[in-house]
Amino acid sequence: MPALGTFLLLTCFVVAAYAATASVAGARRQSTRLTESGIGAFYLVTALMAVASSVIIYAFVTDSYAIKYVDRYSDAAQPLLFKITAFWGGLDGSIMFWVLLLSVFGAIAVRNSRESHRELIPYVVATIAIVEMFFLFLMVMHNNPFETYLADIPPDGQGLNPLLQNVYMVIHPPSLYIGFVGMTIPFAFGMAALATGHLDDSWLRAVRRWTMVSWLFLSLGLTLGMIWAYEELGWGGYWGWDPVENAGLLPWFTATAFLHSVMVQERRGMLRVWNMTLVILTFFLTIFGTFMTRSGVVQSVHAFGEDKELGLMFTVFMALLLVVSFGLLLYRLPLLRARHELDSWVSREAAFLANNWILLFSAVFVLFATMFPTLSESLTGERLTVGPPFFNKWMLPIGLALLLLTGVGPLLAWRKSTVENLWQQFLWPTVAALVTGVTVVALGVRVWSSGTCFAMSAFVTTTLFQEFVRGARVRQQYSGSDLLTSAVGLVARNQRRYGGYIVHLGIVLMALGFAGEGFKQEEQLLLKPGETVTVGPFTVRHDAITITQDAQKQMVTARMTAFQGSRELGTITPAKWFYNKRTDEPTTEVAIRRSFAYDLYVVLAGFDAEQQSATFHVVVNPLVNWIWAGFAILALGTLLALLPERALAIASVKVPEAAATGTTTSALLLAALLGSAAFPHVAHAQHVEGASTVVVPMSAFEREIQNDIVCMCGTCGRKRIDECTCGKAEEMRIEVAGLVKQGYTREQVLDYYVQKYGSQEPLAMPIDKGFNRLAWAVPYGLGVFGAALAGVTALRWSRKRHELEDAPAVASTEGDAWQTKLDEELRDLD
């Protein structure tokens, strides 16, 4: 079965290569048959990836621990759901999942746009197929999920980290991946438009919806990540500016910028180069984010671990990507001239431009700060780090400026706003902002950032309300129905616009939630039974510690009573769970008491079972739930904007039905959200790894050597001695320590083992010398050779056809010219 899997991946690589070659060659030779065969191959990749994915899922479900990946991320006791989702639990599988998603999305995109964007499709296919090839190459050469143990198949797997065994981790990574992968589609269409020179706005129409869907999933992924951090990790917050989180945020910024600036291009024919740049950057950042977190370039306690080889492959791919895409962009620059110029700085275009600059700046800033430790180390040799306070200091004003623009943008007219309409538009929102500001100060709020945020939220909300009411009034005059019906009809007729406004409303709610962070109160302390602590409006009394047991784990639970003022709220039970397989890594079960104003958040940090005393981290988090509610509204708005335009026609005729769909989706979404919020804590843990068995500190050198030598006991399946737990490995570690003490160099130690065992068998990696070097080079050579071959074939195929058709070319060129013209006319009609 693993052999089948590997074979499928290899086949996928070959088929993807054919798809790329054939479709481009077909387009250049204008051979429909060749292009069609490329598209066919492209679909075949999807089918093959689906089969390969079923194979790995089957392996998980049937507990095939011969496959290393299955052994590492699953065990017999794991619930079926987590066995299946362990598919994307690790690096190898997540790359495979990535390719699967990409192939599925690609197939859908190609199918949908095959007729409407016929001239672009071959290049879309080629771009996506090349990206697929890169990831397939990574898998086959470096991270094959189907890799097996040659001997000594473990009887049971090591099990998925309990940290990952919960419902958020089932949906959080896929949703982020969907967001990431979805961004490839706009990129592919952009590349196709650049390659063919069909640079009118039709490619934008093809990708608008894809960008929105990907953006929605990216937002969902980020939000779920926050919920997960908040509920499972137990440090009291939801966003820590961790490189892993930042990796998801970077493309979110550029995608948001694109969704706004695309409107300027549609409306005014401006910012065409800019939009293309944003599409390329967004795609680049999805790859870069993966690179950043997977290759160990960014080092922090949270980083994924070092993998120089993987880093190198990514670097090469990213360099190629930038050179090719920006090269094409420069080449096509003459075709991308703006049709209009900016008329005035007091216009909606200018507001969009400002919004774009700020978003792009945010992306650059977060990238810079995330990479700062690495940058400082490579430039000065001194490793400097920046923490969350640095991020917050910068992102806070940036966020506030964006929030303000959210309100200002819709108030400005396209092209140029007159003083008169400025007055008319800004009056009420400004009044609302001032009133809120004064009220906030009068109430004694002294956190300037949160106060400003409240005032701005009032401004934006009033703006949105004003837009809805004015629009509905106008419609009311035509239809004569009541205001509410008119508002529904208004939304149904301009889903994108009003969907966008609803998204903004969601953003405002989220901003309020973030502003609540300014009023966070917390306390860390030790409590004996009967003692209480008061934090903010809550008082908590520690009653007792109980220890219970089930088949999987031992549970230490603190029984506490919570009060708000003098009113008793009930019992809360923060806990620590010690899983039998990982007693070193207890998971933290946070007790959260939610309300719209405050969350009471209690963590059991330590305990003394005999004395019944325990240490607690008690946090009062104001307004946190507004973030989740804000996201629900944001998602609702996006879905509304996403409704197919055909729905528009029906909706404007039969308003009630549209309203009904609107409510069902929102109800579904709310249900999903509430459902996940109400889900019992399945399994959680503090975000830390178990203490290693190393008690005596080793030198880095010794550790490095331990990593180079495998255990020779013959039953451990070639585990490196630094991670093998058998007695032989212990012996070998002592031996290595002895050698190191004698002053052996790395070469000498390796030599010693080669001589002792008469072969290179004890070495974890073949020595990079002579013939062995060739062995290293082979896979890379093959990869480069394959790519070169594909390129040459594509060129030759297209050239041959040209030579053949030299004679009758005159006639057909003329025909083509007519055909192109016809195509253009038809496009304009769309």
Partner: protein, 149 residues
């Protein structure tokens, strides 16, 4: 016309760029922390007094004052050692012998760890951090190792 426009854009970009760089530079000066191993700092501790540091090493001799959250412990790396004090909650994996990074400032009395400044090594969210896991990433503390040399 077009030349003046280009000049305008160039100048505003320049001004904005300079302003941001200046702000970035000043805030960086306040916020950065040096990331060091214990031995890099403790050979000449006087030089580092008062600077914000992140120190990496192995914890030992952890003591807690009875009925409080006051901790005293030692952090060692390559034979050099620093005494540290901390008040607050420590991670579950903070034990004698565990690999830690502590944030705070060094003074003649030892290293004062800032609130929440004790971090024990930590696996990623996605990678199951099984110590015996096979695969390419297998060093004991992958993320925080290579800054040593």
């Amino acid at each position: 016309m077009s030349a003046t426009k280009t000049a305008k854009i160039a100048i505003s970009t320049l001004v904005l760029g300079l302003a941001f760089s200046a702000m970035l530079y000043s805030s960086l000066n306040e916020e950065t922390q040096y990331y060091k191993h214990v031995d890099e700092v403790m050979t000449q501790p006087g030089e580092w007094y008062g600077k914000r540091l992140q120190l990496h090493g192995h914890a030992s001799d952890i003591r807690r004052k009875a009925d409080s959250l006051d901790y005293r412990f030692e952090v060692a790396h390559n034979g050099q050692l620093v005494r540290a004090s901390y008040t607050g909650i420590v991670p579950d994996t903070f034990k004698d012998g565990s690999e830690v990074v502590i944030k705070g400032t060094l003074g003649p009395q030892g290293f004062v760890v800032e609130p929440g400044g004790v971090m024990a090594k930590c696996p990623s969210k996605y990678e199951a951090g099984a110590p015996g896991a096979p695969g390419k990433v297998s060093r004991p503390a992958p993320g925080i190792q290579s800054s040593a040399n």
